[in-house]
Structure formats: C-alpha cells, structure tokens
Amino acid sequence: MVGDWRVSLAEIDAMGRKAARGAGFSWGMAEEAGRAARWLAAYRLPGPEALVAVLNQVDAAVPEHAPRIDDDVWYCNAEALCPIASGAALSDRAEAIVQGGSFRLGPVIWPVLVVPFLCRAARDLDCAMTLSGGDFLIHATREGPVARDWWAVTMPLSRELLVTRTMESPGELRRPGPDAHVLPVALWRRLDHFAQRTYAPATEASRRAGAGAGLIDRD
C-alpha cells in the first residue's frame, strides 16, 4: 500500500461522508464531514488527511468527543473534542458569534477541520470570524480562509481554541480550485475501511431482488 492516489473533490465528499458514517457519526453529521474534507482539499489543505486522523481517534466513541456546552466554554467527555461535531455546533451558533459572542473550546483534534464550517457561515452571514489558539491562527472570511502561517494551521491537536468575531483579517487569502487532490494510497484505503462498514453484506435475496434485475437483459 504505497504510492499516491489522485482523487476528485466529489470523491472526497462521498468517501468522507461514508467513512464518517462508518465511524459512528449520524448521517447529517457525516454529510458535514464529507463537505468539510472536500472544502479543505479545494483550498489545497489536508482535508481527507485530517479526517482520517479524526476518525481513527473518535472511532466508535463519537458521542464522547462531541462538545458539551457550559455557557461559553466547550469541553467533552473524551481526551479531545471532535472538530466535525465542534464545527457543526459552531456553525449552528454562528449568529451568536456575529453578534459579538465568543466560544472557548479545547483541546481540539485537527482544528483545521473547523475552518470550513466557519467559512461557510461567514459567507452565508456576510461576516468574518477568527479561530485562534497558540500558533494556530486563521480567519474565516466570506471570500475564504485567511492565514499568515499555513503550516501552523495543520497541527494535529490544539490545546485551546478561541472563536470570535473578526474586525480585521490580515494574512494571505486562499482561493479554491477544482483540481484533484493527491494523497497516499494507504490513507484513502483507511477511509474506505471506515466506509465499508456502511455497506450491507450481500445475501442471496439481495443479489436476486435488490437491484430488481430478474429479467434477461438482452434483446
């Protein structure tokens, strides 16, 4: 299992969704996972790579990694927060951030996966938000993500993250592209390993009736 594999953005979305479902996310949350991985890949950021790492860590313990919200401070019952569940919850509360609220959460696994949620909210609500913690600093603007140090935003764990409204967003704005994403074959297979759990094993009945082809398909 060596070598690189080129995948389209649509394949990342579909595979990410199935893999997240396979790891135990609800369908609606799994949709968020696929979209987030795809979104990052379009910006040449490690979307599927981050998602694999998250699924490895939260596998079969998804609820424990979901945020518990105690006023403005978010924590969880596991060692670190899931960025998919956290990102979705932040997206759901984006209006509160726009109105000046802030949230403190951590530690967070692969915090870059939170960025797509904030950027989509920033676009839909025409505003900007900042996600910061230690060396991790990224602005979610309606045009896309803005950062000064793109290496620092791909850290595997952030001790604490602060989410606030942004007045200024200095740094380099990234633009999305349609290009395929290149990743190690082994990593794609790992996603597929999770996705396989969503497929029903074939039975004689399903082979016979499932697709509905009982007739001879020649003429």
């Binding site: 394949e11 609606g28 997206s91 759901d92 497929y199 697709a211 082809a213 398909d217 020649r218």
Partner: protein, 536 residues
C-alpha cells in the same frame, strides 16, 4: 410533488438533451470525426469532437469484441461492447493511449480531470446484426424492425461529476455550455449515437464490400441510444433536493407562462397540433410489457384521442386564455400520463417564451447546505406541520408503511432496496426514509424541554441533523421534497427513475420491473453532421 405524477413525466423542450442541441446549433459549433481506427472485427477506437466559441470536447470511443456470454446490462458487468470517455479538449495520441489502458476497465480503471464523463454501452444484438446484414446486402433495414427496438446500443452507465477520478463539477460549472445539469453527459450520449451508426455501417462494409450501402438519412434518424437504468439512479432526486426543486420550478414556471397567455396565435396553434401529431405517433410505437406501464399506455392513447378531438376545432383556441382553458379541462379529462404529456405539448411551440428557463436548472447546493441553528424549535416544528403533513400522519410501525429499506450493497457499492421483514441488513439503512425521519424528528421536537433553538436541539439530537437540513431546505425551495413515503410497500422506484430520465430528455420508458427501466435517448434528433458545420 407526488411520485405518481413524477412517474408520468415526459421530456419537454427544457429537457437537458434538447437544451444542449439548441445551444450547439445556435452558437454554430463545429463537428468532426477526427479519428476512426476500427478493424475488420469491429475493434479499435474513434474520436468525435465538437468545437464551440471557447472550447472543444471529444468523445473517445473504444469498440470491443465482446463474447455474447459476457454481455450484461447489470452494473456488475465487467466487459462491454463499447466504452467511452468525454475528453476536455481534443486528445493527443498520449491521451488516447492513457485512456485505452483505463476506459475499457470502467470502474476498475482510473481517469483524470481531463475527462468529463465515463460510460459504456452494449449492443442490441438482434437489431445490430439485422442492420449489418441488410446494409451488407445493399438494402435498407425495415423501418418497423428499427422502431421495435429503437437503438443499436444502449448505455448501461454514464458517470460524470468526478466519478472514478474524472473532473469535478466545479471545473466545468462556470462554462456556459456545461453550466446546465448533465450537459457533459448528454453531449457524450449524443456523440455515442453517431458512433453506433458509424460502427454498424463499418461492419456492413467489412461484410458486404462494394455491395454494402449506407443507411438512408431518414431511417438513420429513427435510431436513438438506449439506456438501461436501475436503482442506482433512484436516490439522486432525494439526495439533491435543491436541484430537484430547480428542475420542477423551471417546468412549473414554463407551464404558468403558457397558461397566462391571453390568446393563441396561429403559429402556436399549428406548432401545438404538430407536436400533438408527433406525440401520437411516438406513443403508438411505445411498447412495454410491464403491466403497470401497459395500463398507463392504454390510458395515454385514450387521452390522446380525447385531446385530439378537443383541439380539432379552431374555436377552442379563440377564447380568452385558451391554453389555460385547455389545461383546466385536462385536469379533469385526462390521466396523469395524459396531463403530463400535455405539459410537454404546451411548451413545445413556445420556445421564445420558455427557453430562457433552461438556464435556471442548475443549483448551488452548497448555498443551501448550512443549517440555520438560530431558528427556534417551534419554527422548525411549524415547517414539519406545514410541509411534511403528508408524512406525520403515517403509522410507521405498521408493516406496509416501513416495508422497505434502502441500502448500499457491499458487493457492488450500488443502492439497493430490501424488504425489512424478510431480509437482513436494515441496520445499514440509508437516510432516504424522508417521511419516517421527519415524523421521528417531529415527535422529539414535541418532547423537547431544552433551549428553544435548533442549535441546542441538534446538539442533543445529532441523529436528526439530516432531517433538520431537509426541512429548512423545503421551507426555502417549494419543490425540494417528494411527498411520498419512500419506504412504503407500494413504492414504485421506477417513478423516481422516470422523473429524472424525462428531465434528461429520454422517452419510450419501458419498465422491466418495478425497479429498472429501459429508455431511448435522442431518437428522431438530428446528428452532429446534420446541424453542425465541419471545422474551418
């Protein structure tokens, strides 16, 4: 938005094949068959290219020598009579060599983001052999034999939008010619049709030598491209609610525009009657062995007789809002098949009035993806009460109301439909039970004691996240939701297929069971060499 009606749709002038051909002709695209390297056994490759104002596209075709015992339309097949890729531009020999290593393998191969679609087709063995035989002997095939099948080859899958490594939709969505839904796939099928006719003439020349003749151009038009579609396509309309909304909205808006016309001018009446006559001929030739479709066809033929009588007298078009009067009459006088065919007929002569709507049928699905967490839970419950009332009253514990489950098979990674009582695997159920899921969310909303925001509700109930998204989409997009129980024992999956295929522009729907259907595409349509010029 009931399945019985959607399963009675017919293609209209807003269908994707029709709008594609209008654009290519309007923009004076150029056409050439750049390469034909097919040997005496019918094996080799060919390239068909079209060039528009800004870009060119090429169908790269691979013809194979497929033993009869390997020919299967099932998605599980591993070999085909012909395989294809739509290339973005005009391919070099290197591109063709690369595609030759991958395209014939289909799912087991890999294409690149220079490719916009990947597809395959099998021969209609009977008609292909018959036509080769006729032409080789220097005579034309019999029209009735052609009409009985309608195509030389049928595609068994046309993959686009990033599948198997092909270009993502994002790459082409900004191009005017491919912005509309499935335009790349429709272009690929149109060029495939030319290939099938060229191939049958080639094989006739091999067999008959100097004696062989080409197909008469009038007869040539009677060949379309067949297609065999199963459950794999069924979840699409459910998984793309905004896109579905935009398709239906365009169709409804077009119908509304025609119905509000104050009068009917002579050209429009003549155009309508001509369309009615063509439709009558087409329905005469439309065959199906499926009991449900046979019954629908009998009703449709009766409808056409009734409609022809109703529209025979000029007086019926001289009253105010004559098209609206016709429509209101049809709602009481015709079956669903007849009413939906009338939609197509009403639009047919009104190109100036409705064709712009073809530009509104794509969708920015990402713009509708984010859930509004600031919505109150009573507001979300209110959406369900208003727009999902059809779903809330159903008792999903009763066996017929939850008889089926949608799943994806491990063996072929394709959507399937299982019987909940008698089959294993319900724990793998896909989120396509829209009615039951909305009823379950409504029940949990009724019991909700927490903070009155959707954000708080979904934090406690992540299992309702996909349903909350659907509900909010349905509130913004009136035609996003199919208002039927998709796991009911009386679900006819072919209704989903027919709706989608009618938007493609397909006709002669011939269900082979309740879950797969044969169709014909581009029958009677012009060929590229007839409406496009050769390159300058």
């Amino acid at each position: 938005m009931r399945l019985a009606r959607m399963g009675s749709f017919h293609p209209t002038r807003l269908s994707f094949m029709q709008s594609l051909l209008r654009r290519l002709a309007r923009e004076a695209w150029r056409f050439e068959r750049g390469c034909w390297e097919i040997d005496d056994k019918g094996v080799g490759h060919a390239v068909y290219s079209v060039r528009g104002p800004a870009r060119a596209y090429s169908l790269v075709c691979f013809a194979h020598d497929l033993p009869d015992e390997m020919r299967s339309d099932r998605v599980i097949a591993t070999a085909w009579d012909a395989t294809f890729a739509l290339f973005d531009g005009v391919p070099t020999q290197n591109d063709i060599d690369r595609l030759a290593r991958n395209v014939p393998k289909q799912e087991a191969g890999r294409v690149s983001d220079d490719e916009l679609s990947l597809s395959r087709a099998n021969r209609s063995v009977r008609l292909f052999e018959y036509v080769v035989g006729c032409l080789a002997e220097g005579r034309q095939p019999d029209r009735a034999e052609i009409d009985a099948v309608g195509y030389l080859m049928r595609t068994t899958a046309v993959y686009g939008s990033g599948k198997f490594g092909a270009a993502d939709r994002v790459k082409i969505a900004g191009r005017p010619e491919l912005k509309g839904p499935f335009q790349a796939e429709m272009l690929s099928v149109w060029l495939t049709r030319s290939f099938t006719l060229d191939l049958v003439e080639h094989m006739a020349r091999v067999r008959g030598g100097a004696q062989a003749v080409a197909i008469d151009p009038v007869l040539r038009r009677r060949f379309g491209v067949g297609n065999s579609t199963g459950l794999g396509m069924a979840p699409f309309l459910i998984n793309h609610p905004v896109l579905l909304n935009n398709w239906i909205m365009a169709r409804e808006e077009a119908l509304a525009r025609v119905r509000t016309l104050a009068g009917a001018d002579r050209d429009n009446v003549a155009g309508f009657r001509a369309a009615l006559a063509r439709a009558t001929e087409n329905v005469e030739l439309w065959q199906s062995e499926h009991p449900v479709q046979k019954q629908k066809l009998a009703g449709l033929r009766k409808d056409l007789d009734t409609l022809t009588v109703r529209c025979g007298a000029d007086a019926s078009f001289t009253k105010p809002q004559p098209w609206n009067a016709l429509w209101l009459w049809a709602e009481g006088a015709l079956s669903l098949e007849g009413q939906e065919l009338l939609v197509s007929l009403l639009l047919e002569p009104q190109g100036d009035l409705v064709d712009d709507l073809a530009d509104c049928m794509d969708a920015d699905e990402d713009a509708a993806f984010r859930i509004d967490g600031s919505m109150t839970t009573p507001a979300l419950r209110g959406i369900l009460a208003e727009l999902f009332d059809w779903a809330l009253a159903v008792d999903y514990d009763a066996a017929p109301n939850c008889a089926r489950f949608w799943y994806v098979s491990e063996e072929k990674l394709e959507p399937r439909l299982g019987e909940r009582v008698s089959e294993e695997g319900a724990e793998y159920e896909q989120p396509l039970s829209t009615g039951r899921d909305s009823a379950q969310m409504a029940a949990d909303l009724d019991d909700w004691q927490g903070e009155l925001s959707v954000a708080a509700f979904l934090l406690a109930h992540p299992e309702h996240r996909h349903t909350a998204r659907r509900a909010q989409i349905a509130a913004r997009y009136p035609y996003a939701e199919i208002r039927d129980n998709l796991i009911s024992s009386d679900l006819m999956p072919i209704d989903l297929l027919r709706c989608k295929l009618s938007f493609f522009g397909a006709d002669r729907f011939d269900p082979r069971s309740d879950r797969w259907v044969r169709i014909c595409m581009y029958r009677d349509a012009p060929f590229p060499h007839e409406i496009l010029q050769a390159p300058q």
